[in-house]
Symmetry: C2
Subunit: 314 residues, 2 copies
């Protein structure tokens, strides 16, 4: 028994699960592990030079013969070179974030690359579909890291009603029942971030993993509302201080200093000064394991939920 | 074929759908219509005197012999008298909002009334369960009106993992697939607000209904973050002005004036000065109809989704 999704057929995946691109976290090693486990691994280009992206792609290719993708951070100063590397290395699929992907889509399409923008609202989904996107990831505000306003449950049905391309659901998904629920809603698959952060193969410091495993439901905070950098992270000294400063006009410089390299600090184990980007679903995550075991458990739960759905009827 | 839910068996309902209590909106007439349609109608006590609550109960009893409930606004100055009326009129079930329900629960339980607190996070759910709540409504931030921080998709599984009582999902649900998705997640049923606001029996001004029917996904705004009155409403002169004032210190008096009776104004048709409380799912709602027809469509879609869930498997 397995899940019948167009994503699996079109992208050559066993499971309709994307491992979301996360800056400094989803390296070539991690993306390869996700792809070997049956999902789609995604190398995140954010924070990397073009050469570093090339190196991560090489590392991933050494570890898997399965398809994997690259998450393009469109504001990257080296975006043009990164694009060329993705084309030259015949990456089959990219996701995009942090900006309008449509100017980059013709070159990617010419190279036969499927483009899947991560979108926060219907308007962006419609624009992407019109520009020929293969699919979109509809990402809710419960996600970790940079977020929009719409929640996953409110966003996914509205995007599905607006576009004719596959829609993946992202944000708030860390178990197989939630995956099954999103498929029932009409999503072709899901993108998962926070859950994979506690995986063995994830290169973040163990202290960061423990913070996620010990988090309660209300332990995340959103900072930067009303700016282009709206970020959800776990509450800690850094994020609470940032939120305090937001109430005080004229503290932008101090805030910028706090936020400088803050995700990288968290990845390296600075639990006070780092920005512990993670989603609201952290509170549901109680154990780690290999990416393969996490993926397998997701699928077992999802398949059981779908197979048993008619038992909810009399 | 129908949905097999403990809520239906325990509360004598045909469908596991609560019509959420909404101040100035869910009158006795509307609650009776919801109960006659097979769900649980709820009279909202918010903004009503004890005598008015009694009158609404009388009105509902004239129109239905089906069970209906009362949504208790716990901050009401007449909460003690309202409680007594609910007990005297043998209301079988109450939902609670705006405060800690546990001090009121012994009296309600002694009268044989089932108590179902609306909760925004796990801690409140656990406290309610310990105090003997029959169930909880886990309400996500995508809802209209007063909201918490957690999204429905992140909240519901975490509440389900923390309590052993039935959990209803609320926020972001306006079609049958979403209802089915919540049942698959483990919810015993759903509470729905915004969708019922466009129903024929809903007493809000037609102009307000049209605003919901014409809304896009991103047309709601949250005001009052960081205060006890966090409210989601449609963007209009009033809410945008309020949000502007929030950026200016020392404008609390001006904000209070803007917010004064603002929901009531909206209900009566003031589309500029009113607070058009509605959820993020407004953008999915494209037509009204009777509560019975809306409820029937929800159920038909949900039953079809659950019956067909195994087709998502190979």
């Amino acid at each position: 028994m397995s899940i019948n999704s167009i994503l699996c057929r079109d992208l050559g995946l066993k499971y309709p699960i994307f491992q979301g691109g996360m800056a400094y976290i989803t390296t070539g090693v991690m993306a390869a592990a996700s792809s070997n486990a049956g999902g789609l691994g995604l190398i995140c280009s954010s924070g990397l030079t073009a050469q570093q992206v090339a190196d991560e792609i090489t590392a991933a290719k050494r570890l898997t013969d399965k398809p994997f993708g690259v998450n393009l951070m469109l504001q990257s100063p080296e975006i043009e070179q990164i694009l060329q590397i993705v084309i030259d290395t015949k990456i089959p699929v990219v996701t995009t974030g942090a900006g309008d992907p449509t100017p980059f889509m013709p070159a990617l399409h010419e190279a036969g690359i499927k483009v899947i923008p991560v979108i926060p609202h219907v308007k962006a989904a419609v624009k992407a579909a019109k520009a020929g996107a293969y699919a979109v990831v509809a990402e809710g505000t419960e996600s970790g890291g940079h977020v929009g306003d719409m929640t996953t449950l409110a966003l996914v049905p509205q995007v599905l009603a607006a576009v004719d391309i596959p829609v993946l659901a992202a944000g708030g998904i860390a178990d197989g029942k939630s995956l099954a629920a999103m498929l029932l809603l009409g999503a072709a698959g899901v993108q998962i971030g926070t859950l994979f952060m506690v995986a063995d193969e994830c290169p973040i410091d163990n202290a960061f993993k423990q913070q996620i495993l010990q988090a309660a439901d209300t332990d995340t905070i959103v900072t930067g509302r009303g700016t282009p950098h709206v970020v959800r992270s776990l509450k800690n000294s850094m994020s609470l201080k940032y939120a305090e400063l937001e109430k005080q006009p004229g503290t932008q410089a101090e805030r910028d200093k706090l936020a400088d390299k803050a995700l990288l600090k968290a990845v390296r184990g600075d639990m006070d000064g780092g920005c512990l980007m993670a989603g609201q679903i952290s509170g549901l995550i109680k154990h780690g394991g290999s990416i393969a075991s996490i993926m397998q458990q997701l699928m077992n739960e999802a398949e059981a939920a779908l197979a048993g759905a008619n038992k909810l009827l009399d």
